[in-house]
Amino acid sequence: MNSTGNPYVPILVIGAIGFGFAAFSLVAAAITGPKRYNRAKADPYECGIEPSPQAAEGGRFPVKYFLTAMLFIIFDIEIVFLYPWAVTFDKLGVFGLVEMSIFIATVFVAYAYVWRRGGLEWD
């Protein structure tokens, strides 16, 4: 770390750079970009693609997309805890096995809930 001078200076500089970057982006966008207000800008995903097909209620994305994405994230991320366990599996012994079983069982309860309440059905 910076051993000479005020130790806060780097923090301040970093803060200023961050602020400046954000300010610069906004100013640059305001100066260079077209000033037309476009409703699409407030939409989720500003990639410019006209979402199709239109859902029955006139929305852009069926909620199912979000639901599936969310379920995927939540179940996928739990795997993270299996890695360290796998590495030290032999040292943790029975304790580790039991704890992991409880952990997996809990995830399965959530899974069962999603399944029973129709979260996995696509129509």
Partner: protein, 629 residues
């Protein structure tokens, strides 16, 4: 000495109040009788305690009762305990005695009110709270009672809350009292912090070890508390408006008992004030200012109850002055408090009786010549009048002259100033009280034919007569052989009286009497020999106008406290929505560098909240930086 029956003093009326409130309409028919009986029962217990006290030697008279351990936080312990000594018994008898009479009076006075039961419930609650105030053995227990009487007073002022002005009056009383309460709680905290205890006995014992500065701070805070509760300058403005409550309430709470709690507090804390001369001087000055202030306002009021309220303020000023004069004055302050309890309560009941007969008219310019129609009311009111202006041998003569005398003998410039103020107050008192009596009872009738003035029923004039008896005899009884002084001696240690006196009692009495006669004659000339206009004359001096507006006390309060408070609140609300919002806008403008962007970057509230957090974070970092640099 301990006693197990003290708690019943409080429990009886508290029980009555609970029964009446819980039983609801079911108790409409007998509720007022129960309340009156319980109040009388409390009085009975008080008398019993008094007679037991008399049978013991002077040092053994105080009794106490521990109820339960209330708070114990670490080293801090407070028991809920009661203590009855020579000082509190005076109050117990006054509260329950006058209280019971006023209960009886109210049975008739409130008979047409469909909410009479609720009224009696509040009245009983008040008695219980006031008894707790004077019986508590520590400042904290006193504080509980103090808040209780505040609540009761507040409920009763607003009893006829159908009229918005009455509700406003209740609020005003509440706010002035809160300022006072804050003083009391600060005093308790300072006492605890410096002395480690809040019981009267403990504080008294440790007071000698504390620094004068701490004691002065406690004293000043206690004085703030007293000014709030006892309507002393500068927190006096609520008392006049408090007259919105039913008249028995004005008599009991706003004349005889609750408003004198400040005097009780100061007398009870004599060991603090005696050790803190600055605070004591402040007490005397506040008392002197208020006694003149109240008297001046009293001269200009046309509303009979407000005139009496101004007089109460002024008379309590005398008591506070007395209490501020130290050991020489405590006994006389209490004496004046007791005699005042009789004659002022009596006069308020008289005023109520007049209003009862005159369709609730309160404007004295619409009275006149009522002595023919209400002879008993006139007689009782008249006796109270003679007592308050200090005509010998009525009660006020003994108590008030003594305070004036002690004031003169306080020594030096202080003594002369305070003494002159007290003397002047006596003259003004004579003037405005004479004015009240003449406008109401003498002269020609100024009421229209719709009113049918009539004497009140026995239930009303009975209590008035008893109170009038008290106004006549109490002064003599208290001073006979220095009875009250000797009685109170163990509580308020006294120096021998008449030491290096400036004026002898005789001279003071003569001076006072001369001034009283002067005041009375002026009033007679102005109001009896001249015609009293029915409408309020406008071509009066600036002083009268000022006095009519309560010497601008409301205007002062508004300018000094209310307006800044309101604008501060408004400013903070604006900060919440406008400034912070504006800051967000400002930053947005900075960032985008164009005014146009302001429109497109409409600020929403979530983001402005996030801005709060971010700015807070920046401020925290900046502050830590500065603190540690």
């Amino acid at each position: 000495m301990t006693s197990n029956s003290l708690v019943y003093l409080i429990a009886l009326p508290l029980f009555g109040s609970a029964v009446l409130l819980l039983a609801g309409r079911r108790s409409d028919r007998w509720g007022h009788l129960l309340a009156t009986a319980l109040s009388a029962g409390s009085f009975g217990i008080g008398l019993m305690q008094f007679s037991q006290m008399l049978s013991r030697s002077n040092e053994q008279r105080a009794v106490s009762q521990k109820l339960f351990s209330w708070i114990s936080v670490g080293s801090f312990e407070v028991d809920a305990g009661l203590m009855l000594d020579q000082l509190s018994i005076c109050f117990v008898l006054l509260i329950t005695g006058v209280g019971t009479l006023i209960h009886i009076y109210s049975i008739a006075y409130m008979s047409h009110d469909h909410d009479r039961r609720r009224f009696f419930a509040f009245l009983n609650f008040f008695i219980a709270a006031m008894l707790l105030l004077v019986l508590g053995d520590s400042y904290l227990n006193l504080y509980v009672g103090w808040e209780g009487v505040g609540l009761a007073s507040y409920l009763l002022i607003g009893f006829w809350n159908q009229k918005p002005t009455y509700a406003t009056a209740a609020k005003k009383a509440f706010i002035a009292n809160r300022v006072g309460d804050m003083g009391l709680s600060l005093a308790i905290m300072i006492a605890f912090a410096t002395l480690g205890t809040v019981s009267f006995a403990g504080v008294k014992e440790h007071a000698s070890q504390a620094s004068t500065g701490a004691l002065t701070a406690i004293g000043i805070m206690l004085l703030v508390a007293a000014t709030g509760k006892s309507a002393q300058f500068p927190l006096q403005s609520w008392l006049g408006d408090a007259m919105a409550g039913p008249t028995p309430v004005s008599a009991l709470i706003h004349a005889a008992t609750m408003v004198t709690a400040g005097v009780y507090l100061i007398t009870r804390s004599n060991f603090i004030f005696d050790a803190a001369p600055t605070a004591q001087l402040c007490v005397a000055i506040i008392g002197a200012i208020t006694l003149l202030f109240g008297a001046v306002i009293g001269m200009a009021k046309d509303d009979i109850k407000k005139a009496l309220a101004a007089s109460t303020m002024s008379q309590i000023g005398y008591m506070v002055l007395g209490a501020g004069l130290g050991p020489a004055g405590y006994a006389f302050a209490i004496m004046h408090l007791l005699t005042h309890g009789f004659f002022k309560a009596g006069m308020f009941l008289g005023a109520g009786s007049v209003m009862h007969g005159m369709d609730d008219e309160v404007n004295m310019r619409r009275y006149g010549g009522l002595s023919k129609f209400m002879p008993i009311t006139f007689a009782t009111f008249g006796l109270g009048y003679l007592a308050i202006i200090g005509v010998p041998p009525f009660a006020g003569f003994y108590s008030k002259d003594k305070i004036i005398e002690v004031a003169f003998n306080a020594g030096g410039i202080k003594g002369i100033t305070l003494g002159v103020a007290a003397l002047l107050g006596a003259a003004i008192t004579a003037f405005y009280m004479t004015r009240v009596v003449i406008l109401t009872f003498a002269g020609s009738k100024r009421w229209d034919d719709k009113a049918h003035p009539h004497e009140s029923p026995f239930l009303m004039w009975g209590p008035m007569a008893l109170l009038a008896l008290g106004s006549v005899t109490s002064g003599f009884l208290f001073t006979h052989g220095d009875a009250l002084r000797n009685w109170l001696a163990p509580v308020v240690e006294q120096i021998p009286a008449h030491e290096g006196e400036l004026l002898s009692p005789m001279i003071v009495s003569i001076l006072a009497l001369v001034l009283v006669v002067l005041g009375v004659s002026l009033a007679v000339i102005k109001y009896f020999l001249n015609e009293v206009p029915e409408t309020v004359p406008e071509n009066v001096t600036i002083f009268t106008k000022l006095a009519r507006r309560d010497l601008l006390q409301d205007a002062f309060n508004e300018a000094a406290f209310m307006r800044p408070g309101q604008s501060l609140t408004r400013a903070l609300v604006k900060t919440d929505v406008a400034v912070i919002d504006g800051a967000v806008r400002g930053i947005a403008r900075l960032a985008s560098g164009s005014g146009k962007a302001l429109r497109t970057t409409q600020t929403g509230f979530v983001r402005s909240y996030a801005m709060w957090i971010l700015l807070g974070a920046i401020a925290l970092i900046a502050a830590i930086w500065m603190v540690t640099l």
